[in-house]
Symmetry: C2
Subunit: 335 residues, 2 copies
């Protein structure tokens, strides 16, 4: 083992490689040098286990190889998975992640952005809710699920297609009378398109449908009232429910159990997100899966690409349907 | 709104506060100045919305106000909660978190530590598995759940007490013949003490017990074989099971359902961790809760405290029992 305090310097690397100090510096900063020089320097770096001091390098090269992620929390399994996948996509490119949990606080979101810009991170990826968020254009920013401005690319699942897919799936499975259950913010964002997509799918397939839309802060108990009002002779009017998230599906299924309505025999339930127990075990319900890995990879790719002009304002990535035990399906369809 | 590119400088703050530049610098770097000066500078900082450039400051003051967290992933709900709470504890102290997910890779764990040390983070908090992990003493390090060396404080739940609590709780609830089900690494760490605590509790309460210990990589199916072997005349030999994690409890309950053994009527089940659905909803099972918030707060406090000599080698924090539907309890005991 290397002795303590004998950390190799750039000079040691130059000596080992038999090149000038400036050549080492160029290799480290990704500037052009002759291929044979680059190889010699990289071999010396490996041999000495030389580690670039990224802070010093950051000040010199105006690069920190650090990206800030703004996300409400990592408790919610969807946010937890997104954080994990973005972390992986950054690591792959030798970037580090500064994790900024905002707890949905608009003030915290704005503060983090100012801090991140001042600290000269190379970019920011944000899943934010502040309707008045100010994002300067001195640091690349990619927004997840919400368009912030024309100069900021937004990456999201194709929420509209997901809503439509849920309606069509329920129709395929024999439903005639369905309902959409939603709690969410009134903020205009991509996930809101699930509703429009669902309505579109219902209309296309001649499915009769109801909407029950609650606002953030409303009690989940409102769904119990709604469902109870739609029970006649012990039978629920609906044979299919599309819940805006797997979490809502989970809570709604507890209500259905209480009301003695059986899933999927009496009513089929489809959720949205693709949450798995413990991050890798069973699905909560039959669900529209968000392509979290693809979203993460796309965020990082778009964020770090140099050609700003080529950055599209909105990228919607394809979702997929997954059977999770709350719809009626024959065994061979359950992959 | 402030015009673009007119970011206030330290000079602007000095001018606004009517003090010398050196005074502003002292306040920013936490050096002693007269109280009235400090207040004037802080007011000027607020008024101008001056943001410290922490990278430049970091190089000058040898402080980066950044802590690295090494954790396998944020998919596992326990890791996700730990990440979230450590993040909150750091934010409270105006520190930032560099998130380093290791995916249990010993090489990645070692690499991150070297990177973190080279990048002069102010400290590292690590939940690691590499048995040969080398941690220098040039950067403060706090280890979660595993003693790495006498110079590195280890913070953990009181896993022994938790195991004992599970046994005693099962005894209190009328169990006579119990079993402990575990999958885990052979690595010596704090969570392993759950077993010894459980045995201790069983002996103290004259509870007959079996142990079924699987190694990482073994199939959960082994538990099904074990349980099936202990069914006689359709009845399970055990009336209580302590599962080493809530995840194992979840998987074991699926097996019990398949074997037509009813929880909690035929067998009571207690897990460990305190995982909640979606991070905030129902508990998976009756469980021994790890005090994640206290662990996070203690990690950050110990990591950032200056007095190294006062850092204890091992801190065990109290766990608690929570009813979660898989034990027999009267309604009034279910808080």
């Amino acid at each position: 083992m290397r002795k303590k305090n004998s950390t190799p310097t750039m000079k040691d690397v130059a000596l080992e490689a038999g090149v000038a100090l400036g050549t080492v510096s160029k290799v480290i900063n990704g500037l052009p040098v002759g291929e044979s020089y680059r190889i010699r320097v990289e071999e010396a770096i490996d041999k000495l286990n030389y580690q670039v001091n990224s802070y010093a390098q950051g000040l010199k090269a105006s690069k920190t190889y650090t990206v800030a992620l703004l996300i409400p929390n990592t408790l919610n399994p969807f946010f937890a998975k997104l954080t994990y996948q973005i972390n992986l996509s950054l690591i792959k490119r030798k970037y580090r992640m500064m994790l900024c949990t905002t707890d949905f606080d608009p003030g915290a979101e704005q503060e983090y952005i100012m801090m991140a810009q001042q600290n000269k991170v190379d970019g920011i990826i944000g899943l934010t809710y502040n309707p008045d968020l100010q994002v300067g254009d001195n640091v690349p920013f990619v927004s997840i699920d919400r368009s912030i401005g024309s100069h900021i690319p937004c990456i999201a699942s194709d929420h509209f297609a997901g809503g439509q897919m849920a309606a069509e799936k329920l129709a395929d499975l024999g439903c005639k009378n369905v309902a959409f259950l939603r709690i969410g913010s009134s903020l205009s964002n991509e996930p809101n398109k699930r509703k429009a997509g669902f309505e579109n799918g219902c209309l296309a397939r001649n499915l009769q449908y109801h909407l029950k839309i609650l606002q953030d802060g409303d009690s989940i108990h409102e769904f119990e009232i709604f469902l109870t009002e739609h029970i006649h002779d012990g039978k629920l009017d609906f044979d299919g429910l599309f819940c805006v998230t797997d979490y809502i599906a989970y809570e709604v299924m507890k209500i259905l159990k209480k009301l003695n309505i059986k899933v999927p025999d009496d009513v089929q339930v489809i959720g949205f997100d693709g949450i798995q127990m413990f991050g890798h075990s069973d699905y909560i319900c039959s669900t529209i899966i968000q392509p979290v890995q693809d979203i993460a990879e796309m965020c990082v790719r778009i964020l770090l690409q140099d050609n700003t002009a080529a950055k599209p304002p909105l990228i919607c990535l394809p979702v997929s349907y997954k059977y999770g035990g709350t719809t009626k399906e024959s065994a061979e369809r359950q992959d």
